[in-house]
Symmetry: C2
Subunit: 334 residues, 2 copies
């Protein structure tokens, strides 16, 4: 479990950020852990596994079903739909730029992409496989996978460790650089409109950058309490407090309602908003955030400026070849 | 409804096929109807629509979910899983080379790819949209679609007619040429192994080509009765007669148990087999076909030869770029 910075230290850090240094363009490469260096062969295997619905019990749900690489990296639903049409209580976070999160899942319970990748596959309401042993057995039964694992890892054997490493390696390539904001951050001062610059300044003024700063707008702290301020009216509409976040994992007093700080990259493409997907529009999400996190009221004009700025965080999506998944020759997969 | 050739005429036709002329390589282009010429812009729009899960009520099921372009053009399930985890009684036919079918759907109720494309979208157990009016409304609400329709059809307006034309135009590009068999048919006599050639000869000798001939192995007739011969033992195992095929559509005496003759192209990749997906392996499918269609028993060695030949019908899958689906900026799709 990664260290949780307190609200106080996060705000203290934010106050020391000068605007000039805070506005960093998104790196075009993501750092990889020492035990899983990114290689072309691993990325290729990961790309195939990521899009393979046979990683689910029914053969209908792949990683991409909920974290759609053809869309904004998720499914635009309040909550995702797993095997047999089941749904959970949280909204799928985007896979784009997830490599820049220090922790994964809304409650931050995974410290790496590798650890995250292992979870949904055996979650009964997501991909519904009984065990990773079953997953490994199924992958081994598909003609072509042993050779792909061999290319990526140097031998034919298939394991949970290798599969999740390959998926994580692929996910580290899912980066969306060159947004209007990135061009601005790199010095092209015409890349943002006057309204977008007003929005950017408002984001600083309001204090949004306490939690959403750095190149992926998801730092400096990995976690934050949400909501910070009780608001009965908004609670009734959006049930923001029903989910206790990190506390649901740790059961530790003080962890109640702590969530991973989500990236703001491509936020215009990932409606509906918040951990429970309860807020349908970005305008409303901005208003709610100002109220329950910063105790501020924002005017419609200010919201429009901020939303214009947030739209400038939509990056360029790398062109990808559609994978051809290996087949089970002359037999079905289960 | 296309004209149905009787068993008798189909067999009569088949008997006149000389082996030399019957073995045609797969064309690399599919013919398009006069009112829907294939253009790059239409194909591009169709590729996007085909992979867009927002064409389903839940936003989770696209055409590609059941007719998976990353696999053998279907889902390797006995029956497909639509919205809310619902399943029907038939197995998804492959989209690869569907352009060479004279009729579409297992019961052949659609005379064109355009007509077929309209069906699943509003089928309550498949994609579950209430009406095409709702589909059109949703597409119009997604930023980017009007411009894509404009590129493809010369104006911004969205309609069922245009959407299904674009999807059909895309599907006409889903052709898998250059199988070992195609190379053989073009004159490379070393492209097939000795076993595969034995299998090919056996297929002719048994009479499989009565129904499965021509470049896509789905002609000369579009329809065939299945099963032709009652077999209580096999019926008990596979319930092949439970579904009355074309009769379920027409209610016409004589149409009972008539089905579209499916292509044998890429058959090794499309298990499980038959309209109800009841037979898990290609070996078993060959045995059942010989028994209930041709009243023949085949030895295990003959089956192995035929299956080897059928594996030679696996073609080359065209490399495709993964589409980037247009987003709904700052709002969710419904």
């Amino acid at each position: 479990m990664p260290k949780i910075r307190s609200i106080v230290s996060a705000i203290a850090l934010a106050s020391s950020i000068s605007v000039a240094s805070a506005w960093d363009a998104l790196p075009t490469k993501a750092p990889a852990p020492a035990d899983n260096p990114t290689t072309a062969e691993k990325v290729e295997l990961g790309r195939i596994l990521y899009h393979d619905p046979r990683l689910s019990s029914t053969g209908t749900v792949s990683c991409a079903s909920c974290h759609n690489t053809m869309l904004g990296g998720e499914d635009n639903r309040p909550n995702s739909m797993g095997v047999h049409g089941q749904t959970g209580g949280r909204s799928a976070p985007t896979v784009w730029n997830a490599a820049f999160n220090e922790v994964q899942f809304w409650d931050g319970r995974a410290a790496s992409l590798e650890e995250q990748a292992a979870g949904p596959v055996t979650n009964p309401i997501e991909m519904g496989m009984k065990s990773w042993d079953d997953v490994v057995k199924r992958l081994a039964s598909i003609d072509g996978y042993p050779a792909l694992f061999n290319k990526a890892f140097g031998d034919n054997s298939i394991s949970k460790d290798k599969a999740t490493k390959a998926i994580a390696a692929y996910e580290r390539t899912l980066i969306t650089p060159n947004s209007a904001y990135d061009k601005y951050a790199k010095g092209d001062k015409k890349a943002l409109t006057a309204q977008q610059i007003r929005g950017l300044n408002k984001v600083v003024e309001l204090g949004c950058v306490s939690c959403h700063s750095g190149p992926a707008f998801n730092g400096p702290g990995s976690f934050q309490k949400f909501p910070v301020i009780d608001n009965a009216y908004l609670e009734k509409q959006y049930q923001l407090s029903a989910d206790k976040g990190l506390f649901e994992v740790t059961g530790k007093s003080g962890d109640e309602h702590f969530f991973k700080v989500p990236t703001l990259r491509n936020i215009a493409l990932t409606a509906p908003y918040f951990h429970n997907g309860s807020v349908k529009t970005l305008e409303k999400a901005v208003k709610v955030m100002a109220r329950v996190q910063l105790d501020k009221k924002v005017t419609d004009a200010e919201v429009a400026d901020i939303v214009a700025f947030l739209n400038a965080l939509t990056g360029e999506f790398p062109k990808q070849q559609m994978p051809t998944l290996p087949g089970t020759l002359g037999t079905s997969f289960n």
